[in-house]
Assembly symmetry: C2
Homo-oligomer: 410 residues x 2
């Protein structure tokens, strides 16, 4: 059932713009790498807004910040979350939208003087982007027990400082044990970061889950030789083999079809000269699918092709897994509710997987979880050009509001 | 007809080793970049040997050094040449062998007290390698009128100094006009720089000509996007297109067959990250064939595929020619004579094209020209590991001696 309550778009956009000023880049966009001075300033701003909204704010041992609003009961809260760290040249919406829309939901509840049956919380999680410290989704991963707190605190970033040191330095090494909040439900509003909604002319994505991800780095060892004097039959060309792997990745995606995607984003040849057959090559392959069986099939096809290439080209190919996450499915009832709610609010909606990872996937194994996507102009993401129009933001935030009202109980 | 005269292998190997000491590298091999101090020391050493052998030594305006031995007539000389500059991590044989074997031929004539009908000369040409100054084969190119003296003198090297300045500095800006020597015939003994002779177990290559070379750089402009959130049908993946070009180059070589070779030696993707579809890519394609019609066919096939890829992938591909040399054919009578002479001397021989460029190709349009190849161990070239065994060198030098005796007339 849909209420008549709506979010205040001006208030939400004002906060998005204000947070976008923190760590802003000269040409637009922001840089708030996790646990940097700019991230601290962003955290201070948003925590202040949480306190202004009357929320009880806790900071846990990995720096996750949760603001909670009392309900009629003391049971687990309905939690809305995302992140406010950005990549080095990020936009104003990725992560920030989900946190500030959650805060807007709280403000609507406050404006109505409405006490929900269950408590409602809004959170931002540490280092979702992974741009300064690996892995990404660190705060939510520790929060939900998927990552070790000690390992994460000891992790050094691209500048050498560790997560633990930086949390201390910026004053966000909190005393609340990580993972002490087990929500009743978890919701996250996020920009799509892809072109699907825009292409389809659809306002709301009801996210069915997060694609499984398989990253493999192949190092090809061939034999360097003169490009003019070496007959084709005597070559062991590492560059050619790398190119074949990239082309094979495309073939696999085409043959498996559906949600399967495949990308060879990095190819490096040594020595990389016009007239020298490459001695060695490095190539990465990123395979993703919402269906783990199909993802395994894609991995198996690639592995088989690599063995063929070793034999036919007389090279050796070392494969190293850089990342492997199984697909995550969101709560089916909530996924349907997102789509229905959107339609009842007069918006078009479609079910779709998320191609990118999100904090929500850390919650999905432990509590009913759902995500709401709004369009990304041109599919552009992790870029200062990132953009989602205000009316699209309003649509997404209003769906989020209804989801919270539904799950928290009036 | 074959004479009983033979070269003195100890004398030749002694000079190869002595020249290899000049600019020697700690772990083996040499660095005598053109017109460097080490090149000057090498030039001084070899010019001294020329004078010791009674040759009249001239230095021309581009630094080519020619030592000539009088014949019964004053007509054009039979010239034996090559180069003594090396790449930064070169071996002892590339170029040096041809010059020092020519000097050995002179020594044999001197030992015999034999005056040939025509004069005989031995030369080393400036900057054959092109490792410090572009283009390669500069000295022989100016010598034979294929390159402009003024342009070459003004050419700055990788360290900023110009050819003209460096010739002055090391004292090799000679007064003899470049190109004043038009030989009666030109011969060059060289290491193969490829694996063909070794693979076939053949001692002597009778070089039919130099492959035509076509170097093209393709710059692919696609659209960078998220590797997870961008469906395959919406991609404009510059990295995939570059890989397709590399695979196409291999297909073209396979389909055309024969001497056709194709190499994609350099591939660079931007930004080159595992989870980002490449925005742009740079790839080089090196096509070579001894037959210019087939080389043009290979170029046309690649150009057609590039147009297809632009259309099917929605990218733009800019092609830039980095080099284009038509194939050069050597003198058919001399090529046959090389093979016959080798066999009469008890060596195996085969006709073969040169995959690499050589000074000889500058002479081929202007006088009867031939090259003699000896094996390169493992096909290794432009490398401190470059090696040709003494008995293989003796075989090649003895073929060269007989060629000179035949062409100069006893």
């Amino acid at each position: 059932m849909i209420t008549n309550h709506r979010i205040d778009l001006d208030r939400l956009m004002g906060r998005i713009r204000a947070l976008g000023e923190v760590g802003s880049l000269p040409g637009g966009g922001v840089c708030r790498l996790a646990l940097s001075d700019a991230d601290k300033a962003g955290r201070d701003l948003v925590s202040g807004w949480m306190r202004d909204a009357g929320l009880a704010v806790t900071v846990d041992a990995i720096g996750n910040v949760v603001g909670s609003r009392k309900g009629e009961t003391d049971g687990p809260m309905v939690l809305v979350g995302s992140h406010i760290d950005t990549v080095a040249t990020g936009g104003l919406y990725d992560g920030n939208l989900g946190v500030l829309a959650g805060l807007e939901v709280i403000d609507v509840l406050n404006d109505l003087g409405l006490t929900t049956h269950h408590p409602v919380g809004v959170a931002f999680f540490t280092n979702e982007e992974g741009a300064r410290f690996a892995p990404d989704m660190m705060g939510s991963g520790v929060h939900q027990g998927a990552l070790s707190l000690e390992t994460c605190l000891a992790t050094a970033g691209i500048d050498g400082a560790t997560v633990g040191e930086e949390l201390q330095r910026i004053g966000y090494a909190g005393e609340t044990p990580a993972g002490s909040v087990t929500p009743r439900a978890y919701f996250e509003l996020h920009v799509e970061q892809g072109p699907v909604l825009e292409e389809a002319g659809i306002a709301i994505g009801a996210v069915t889950g997060v694609q499984g991800i398989s990253w493999t780095e192949y190092t090809v060892a061939g034999v360097s030789n003169h490009a003019g004097t070496t007959p084709m039959r005597l070559r062991h060309d590492a560059g050619y083999v790398a190119a074949e792997i990239a082309v094979e990745a495309r073939r696999i995606a085409r043959d498996i079809g559906g949600d399967q995607v495949a990308t060879a984003g990095a190819i490096e040849l040594d020595p990389g000269l016009v007239n020298v057959i490459a001695r060695s090559a490095r190539i990465t392959v990123d395979l993703r699918n919402t269906d783990d069986l199909l993802l395994r099939e894609a991995e198996a096809q690639m592995a088989a092709r690599v063995v063929e290439l070793e034999k036919s080209e007389g090279v050796t190919i070392a494969a190293r897994s850089l990342a492997r996450f199984a697909p995550v499915g969101f709560d089916e009832a909530f996924v349907s509710l997102v789509a229905e709610t959107a339609q009842k609010l007069g918006h078009t909606a479609m079910r779709m997987p998320s191609g990118a990872g999100h904090d929500a996937q850390m919650f999905a194994p432990n509590c009913p979880t759902a995500m709401v996507f709004v369009p990304s102009a041109g599919g552009i993401s992790h870029n200062v050009e990132e953009y989602t129009a205000p009316d699209e933001i309003a649509a997404g935030a209003n769906v989020l509001l209804q989801m919270v009202l539904s799950a928290a109980g009036r």
